[in-house]
């Protein structure tokens, strides 16, 4: 129950909306952010069953453009950036692809995990984790020196970001498209396009961090409040960082700082699917070597068998550590992610977790722990 020093924290353009909604505000990665409004469980269930809206304006953005933009990103990002498509539709609207990747050091340690959107044929926008933005930007700029035809621009001050998530999310966002006659569908999953919503031009992305359908909206900071009001007026429930965490953990999405770090490589984290070593990204040789020999530990999803909730830092008896843990509001049991020795990572393996001195039995489960429509 420590009190933070608000004057040292950044505030998003929606800060007053959060205060007015009675949010509990906490310090998070240098920002004063809403951790919850009405409560984690109702906010979580709103996203699972209807629609929730999150202020994720603390996340950072880096734009890379120019003739060598692709070459620079291919060097930095683990995935094959050349596979992110861009096309102009019959309506004259350009739609770009979205792609997940990790940013590795030479030794394969993970600097960040990122979504990259293609805005134009030679223009990309990469979304960073708030706590890593400055380091990512320095990394991008340092490596851009080898690519003089690529520009790296810090765009963190140019964007606010809202995530509208849940089975009703697309309908709610579609309803605020302007002109009202605009019935063209929103960008599908893993694509992004510029649209006009609630009087503002912004980037609509078919992505999210909840395991539900929905969109993320990247808008100008001055447009964020009106956009927030419009989706809330149509039934989107304001949801905080606490619900964002329980939702992503049920969906088994990684959280940097918990499940990913400089000490862990993408293969052991289960992110080999977004690493294309043949693109020669920084760290590719290290990643290839671990892929060939097999990692010593693997990140598994688990559910506790019985009462108890494991938390980050709890030891797995016989080796390994819990990196994320919570009570799953959807499943009603303690769930989490843990690094365990590779030979104990198979689905169905029984684990014993040391939860502050109490031994809690758990079972390795298939990922994700929650699947939409299940």
């Amino acid at each position: 129950m420590s009190t933070s020093e608000p004057q040292t924290l950044n505030r998003t353009p929606l800060f007053q909306r959060h205060q007015a909604a009675g949010a509990k505000l906490v310090a998070f990665a240098g920002w004063e952010m809403p951790v919850q409004y009405e409560g984690v469980r109702p906010e979580h269930m709103a996203v699972r069953e209807a629609c929730g809206v999150f202020d994720v304006s603390h996340m950072g953005q880096i734009e890379v453009s120019g003739p060598q933009a692709l070459a620079l990103l291919q060097r930095l990002l683990s995935n094959d950036v050349s596979r992110i498509r861009f096309g102009i539709g019959a309506d004259g609207v350009g739609t770009g692809g979205a792609q997940y990747s990790v940013l590795c050091r030479e030794d394969g340690g993970v600097l960040d995990d990122l979504f990259t959107y293609r805005l134009d044929s030679e223009r990309y926008l990469t979304v960073t984790n708030a706590a890593n933005h400055v380091r990512d930007l320095e990394w991008f700029r340092a490596h851009a020196e080898d690519f003089p035809e690529a520009q790296v621009i810090d765009r963190i001050d140019d964007y606010a970001m809202l995530a509208v998530q849940g089975p009703l999310a697309r309908g709610i966002v579609q309803a605020i498209c302007r002109p009202i006659s605009d019935r063209s569908p929103l960008p599908t999953r893993m694509t992004a396009a510029t649209r006009r919503l609630a009087g503002a031009e912004l980037l609509v992305c078919g992505t999210g961090y909840t395991g539900e359908d929905g969109v993320e909206l990247l808008c100008r900071p001055e447009d964020a409040a009106a956009l927030w009001d419009e989706v809330v007026r149509r039934g989107a429930v304001p949801a905080g960082l606490a619900a964002r965490d329980t939702l992503r953990l049920e969906a088994c999405f990684h959280l940097y700082g918990n499940d990913l770090s400089l000490d862990r490589g993408p293969i052991e984290a289960g992110l080999g699917w977004c690493c294309r070593e043949d693109t020669a990204f920084i760290g590719a040789p290290a990643v290839r070597s671990v892929r060939e020999t097999g990692p010593r530990e693997k990140l598994v999803a688990f559910a506790i068998d019985g009462p108890g909730i494991a938390r980050q830092g709890n030891e797995v008896v016989g080796g390994g550590q819990v990196t994320s843990g919570t009570l799953s509001p959807t499943l009603g049991v303690g769930i989490g992610l843990a690094y365990v020795p590779a030979e104990r990572a198979a689905v169905g393996t029984r684990l014993l977790l040391d939860v502050r001195g109490k031994m809690r039995p758990a079972v390795v489960k298939e990922k994700p722990l929650y699947r939409r429509g299940s």
Binding site: V40, A242, L327
Partner: protein, 129 residues
């Protein structure tokens, strides 16, 4: 969730616990402030009967979805009864923190320890401070 309140008949510990002292025994729980800060309680496991509590030391944990918090003993004593109903319905701690949401009953080791606790007025003043 309950409305904010701090009953006059209870004694309060700065770590946001309350005690209802009656005839050498005390019923213990957490205050409205503590349950509000914690959010919805999703897990509480009482220590076994007979466990000795030491004033100012943690004796149990309450967990919300997001966090786990120690519960500190406002008084020393031995557990003579635990609120079994909380195993199934821990959210009663939020709904009725001074009534159905009590945690344990203890036989007091040193009834004079109560003199170190705050009355409702002092506790509320400490929250506002």
């Amino acid at each position: 969730m309950a409305q904010e309140s701090y009953p006059e008949e209870l004694l309060y510990h700065p770590e946001h616990d309350w005690a209802r002292v009656e005839d050498g025994q005390a019923t213990l729980g957490i205050t409205w402030y503590a349950q509000d800060a914690l959010g919805e309680v999703v897990f509480f496991e009482a220590p076994p009967l007979g466990t000795s509590l030491t004033k100012d030391a943690p004796y149990a944990e309450v967990e919300s979805v997001k966090a786990v918090s120690d519960v500190v003993a406002p008084l020393s004593g031995e557990i003579v009864e635990v609120n079994e109903a909380l195993t199934e319905n821990p959210q009663v701690i939020n709904e009725d923190p001074y009534g159905e949401g009590w945690l344990v009953k203890v036989r007091l080791a040193d009834p004079s320890e109560r003199d170190a606790l705050m009355d409702a007025g002092s506790y509320v003043a400490s929250l506002r401070g």
